[in-house]
Symmetry: C2
Subunit: 178 residues, 2 copies
């Protein structure tokens, strides 16, 4: 979200920077120009979600397909929409004929400047295996929207966390579908 005159970097890792701003502190990604997540609906009314192990919570998390825009060395000025298209394909194997920006949401503005831009994807075609890049191990779930509540409840019951954007996506999806 840009730098401020009082910013001081307290520490950084290859991917994160801990910043002090006045009497506040927060974490910032060091790579990319934004984060995208995709609300992807198949023609037969299934929502596509991904599940992967997340070290910070030491367990699996159900999320929207998502990723960082502009974090590839040979494509630093990647637009958000291109990144959404790329991440959907990499993580799920689906190509979207229609892709449309919905809204940009703050992840947790007390502790990070991360914001995630959601895209609605439809007219999908399965063209690859999905599963993520070589550093990722992603399971793809294709869930009939009619049974999504039960499916999410079941995931929680088997000890899987759900990312907050999943529920946000369900609301936005209802509006898209009228």
């Amino acid at each position: 979200m840009g730098a401020q005159p009082t910013d001081r970097t307290i520490a950084h890792t290859p991917y994160l920077r801990l910043i002090s701003r006045g009497d506040w502190s927060f974490v910032q990604r060091t790579t990319g120009i934004g984060v995208v997540a995709i609300v992807a609906m198949t023609d037969d009314d299934c929502l596509i979600l991904v599940e992967q192990y997340r070290p910070p919570v030491a367990g699996p998390v159900i999320e929207l397909p998502a990723g960082i825009a502009g974090d590839l060395a040979d494509y630093p000025l990647e637009e958000l929409q291109s990144a959404a298209r790329r991440e959907l394909l990499e993580e799920t194997g689906y190509e979207a004929a229609h892709l449309r920006e919905l809204v940009t949401l703050a992840s947790s503005a007390g502790l990070t400047d991360e914001c995630v831009t959601l895209f609605f994807a439809e007219k999908l075609e399965k063209v690859g295996p999905g599963g993520g890049d070589e550093s990722e191990d992603i399971t793809v779930h294709t869930i009939p929207i009619a049974s999504i509540d039960e499916w999410l409840t079941g995931a929680v019951r088997r000890g899987v966390l759900v990312d907050s954007r999943v529920y946000g996506a369900l609301y936005l999806l209802q509006k898209e579908r009228g």
Copy 2:
């Protein structure tokens, strides 16, 4: 979410800790035992949201009333439900006769172990001014649920970010209301 054998604290501030776990890094709150947020509905079908300036994004953010459980020196073992009741009162001035846990959601599990437990609050009574504690400057919004989409769109148009849990709350609210 608990410590792992490989954890190493790279840096910390009074409120955050940057942790290295294997080849991953993430940020963790140093205070409290959990984070709560409240989906609060008045008897006349208004949703209560708060707006405050957030230094990490250098601007105002629309959020659910929320806060940290167990971050008060004289009450370290505060339960999540008690914290939800306290935060709702502090931030909005409302007391809830009914308060019920909904779900716990990961905030952004690639960069933090923060999870937020949402509570549904109803049968509200306005008993105080709200606005937060002495360190906070919170504006309370009471929005008819019938016009919430237009209201949020208007907020975005005037340059206010919306927190992702707000849209998640709208989905959960629809389920609560059948």
